[in-house]
């Protein structure tokens, strides 16, 4: 585990963990979220039941994925849409680029989609001279700053109004303001022009409904609706795990996603797109394309222990509750998907060796598993990933030897007793402090007791 990704992670995480301003910004943001979510959950008669039902819906979809994918495709085609099956990120990018070229596309408006972040779509399109404009307010700010989203739901959680005002001043030449409303209106006006002139709209999808062949898109701002209403071509990039069996499932999944994502009963716009425009529509895309993306998801599907990680509806709840995320923030992970879910799935979706450190960057507190609205066994999967890393020999030789020596000690009570005595002596002599340097850098070690419990009990038993 001495890869560059680990070194960078340690450095970035340490920097952020020591940044008290950062901690305060995140804390304030998440406190507001917590209050809203508590209110949102109160709208359910039984939140725990809602989670179980949602997990059952996703279980059904994921464990019969072949059937639902085929049904979905069949319905999209019947509705007049096109389906592209993309095995890799490159396949998806090539398809979209080809489409853009075929239609002479010069400008693309995009609504928030982590799946397109995952496949680094913007870089490819921009490299071919096509202008790509992120239209979700948070994503727009990220794009202006040249940063990846900080959080899968709240892309600029780490920024204050003042930070954003400075970015706008620098990039757009607008006067500084302390008003979130003014900043939003600046973006609205700018982006309105972009919508009017765009040739292609690219969205993600929160769900893909098999029995109607429609993609479901959840948002608050209206930028996704504009993206699939105005341009000539609409492309929806969809991970294959987004399938759900029936339209009826949304009666639960829409409120569940909003509640866990932002605390709203449902978000402002929950749209279903089933194809290109039909007569008598005069506006709207002439073509509708769904890109079904694998990009490692079938590898996760084949893992019977962690298959349920594909239930994820990307609500961000596990990030918000995670004490590690709260202290190091989203960028330190260096991944598209941050927080506990990111540390579970990234080693499966990308190079396992490069990302095998992420499952270790957790205290295994289990708060993520408790909040997950689709009951993914998140913190246990972090344990599974750690075991996989050791099995695949991604651990250091030193650590491996240490645990072998440790086992040898623990298998024998006399050896254990000697080791314990040595440890207590090392504590008393102040040697342990140096051995446990990272831990003792900001903490005092406990005082060494004179005897172990085992010693005490032996004497106690003899005495009584």
């Amino acid at each position: 585990m001495t890869t560059g990704t680990l070194t960078r992670f340690k450095l970035d995480a340490a920097t952020k963990a020591a940044d008290l301003h950062h901690r305060a910004v995140i804390q304030r943001n998440i406190t507001t979220y917590d209050v809203a979510v508590a209110r949102g959950k109160a709208r359910f008669s039984d939140w725990s039941n809602a989670r179980s039902r949602a997990a059952a819906i996703k279980w059904e979809a994921i464990n019969h994925l072949d059937r639902y994918l085929e049904q979905f495709e069949c319905n999209v085609l019947a509705n007049g849409g096109c389906v592209c099956w993309a095995e890799t990120a490159a396949d998806a990018r090539d398809y979209i680029l080809g489409l853009a070229k075929r239609h002479g596309v010069q400008k693309i408006v995009k609504s928030k989609s982590m799946t397109t972040e995952e496949i680094h779509l913007n870089q490819t399109l921009e490299g071919e001279g096509i202008r790509v404009i992120e239209t979700d307010l948070g994503e727009y700010i990220c794009q202006l700053r040249g940063e990846p989203p900080y959080h899968i739901v709240t892309p600029v959680m780490h920024l204050t109004k003042a930070d954003i005002a400075r970015t706008f001043q620098e990039k757009l030449g607008t006067p500084l303001t302390e008003s979130a409303e003014e900043l939003t209106m600046i973006a609205r006006a700018r982006l309105r022009h972009e919508f009017m002139a765009a040739d292609m709209g690219i969205t993600g999808a929160n769900f893909a409904v098999a029995d109607t062949g429609m993609v479901a898109i959840t948002e608050n701002e209206g930028n996704a609706r504009l993206s699939f209403s105005l341009p000539r071509v609409h492309v929806a990039v969809v991970g294959i795990e987004k399938l759900i069996p029936r339209l009826e499932d949304l009666a639960l999944l829409w409120p569940l996603l909003s509640t866990s994502g932002t605390g709203q009963a449902v978000t402002v716009y929950n749209s279903l797109v089933g194809g290109p425009r039909q007569s008598p529509e005069t506006l709207g895309p002439e073509e509708f394309h769904v890109v079904l993306l694998d990009n490692g998801r079938t590898r996760l599907l084949a893992d019977v222990e962690q298959r349920d990680a594909l239930h994820c509806i990307r609500c961000g709840a596990c990030l918000n509750i995670c004490p590690v995320y709260r202290n190091i923030g989203g960028h330190a992970y260096g991944t598209t998907y941050q927080g506990p879910i990111g540390s579970v799935i990234t080693p499966h979706l990308r190079d396992e060796r490069d990302w095998s450190h992420l499952p270790y960057a957790s205290s295994l507190c289990g708060a993520c598993t408790d909040v997950c609205p689709v009951r993914i066994d998140l913190h246990h999967h972090l344990l599974h990933n750690r075991r996989n890393a050791v099995q695949h020999k991604f651990d250091s030789t030193g650590q491996s030897l240490l645990f072998r020596a440790w086992l040898w000690t623990m298998q024998s009570p006399p050896r254990y007793a000697v080791a314990g005595k040595a440890a207590r002596l090392a504590l008393r002599l102040g040697i342990a402090q140096k051995f446990l340097r990272p831990w003792t850098a900001n903490r005092e070690l406990p005082k060494a007791p004179a005897q172990s419990f085992k010693d005490y009990w032996r004497r106690h038993e003899r005495g009584s």
Binding site: R53, L69, W85, D136, A180, N220, E221, L226, L250
Partner: protein, 189 residues
């Protein structure tokens, strides 16, 4: 691309030959408290989202100079054809499929509310509906849609719940991020 399709489906089928270690959770108990009075609940929820329930249509329309409408007969009868295109209207008037009491939402589609952009581009959106279009909850709304369309779906539908908003900046709520800043409903009966 057909090879990709076969490859993905083959990988999926091979993966699914082994059973998941997590059995499906079994539960079918209800998740939401029942909605008792749909009309009252709809209005409560809609108003809480800053939606306006219009009492006097004529008065309300006087506040706008450029009005765009859809082909919905109810809208044509009460508001007429409008005098502006979607792109420069200050008010978009549409019909809707149904209204959802549980969440104070309105469902619009390319069948019930005209072009996709009409209910999202103009800064104010007015929905004209019958009270009988209010359904208790999302379950009922989806059932309503199924019966209405019987497999011949509109190309796009949206469940609209309040005016467009964002809280991307410091979680401060701002209305009218990209879509309408105001949303209103007028019941004809």
């Amino acid at each position: 691309m057909n090879a990709a399709r076969e490859n993905i489906l083959t990988r999926v089928r091979t993966a699914l030959r082994s059973e998941s270690r997590h059995p499906p959770p079994a539960t079918d108990a209800s998740v939401f408290p029942p909605v008792l009075n749909s009309e009252v609940r709809f209005k409560e929820e809609f108003v809480a989202l800053t939606g306006e329930v219009v009492q006097n249509l004529g008065q309300f329309l006087k506040g706008f100079t450029r009005i765009a409408t859809d082909g919905n007969p109810l809208v044509q009868e009460l508001v007429g054809a409008g005098n502006a295109g979607i792109r420069d209207a200050d008010l978009g008037v549409t019909g809707c499929d149904c209204l959802v009491a549980q969440t104070g939402s309105v469902i619009v589609s390319t069948h019930s509310a005209g072009d996709r952009a009409l209910s999202v581009l103009p800064p104010t959106h007015l929905i004209i509906a019958h009270r009988s279009q209010i359904v208790p909850d999302l379950d009922a709304a989806i059932m309503w849609l199924r019966e209405r369309y019987r497999g011949h779906w509109p190309s796009a539908l949206s469940l609209i719940t309040g005016p467009s908003r964002t809280a991307d900046i410091e979680k401060i709520l701002v209305m009218g991020a990209h879509g309408p800043k105001r949303i209103a409903v007028y019941f004809v009966d």
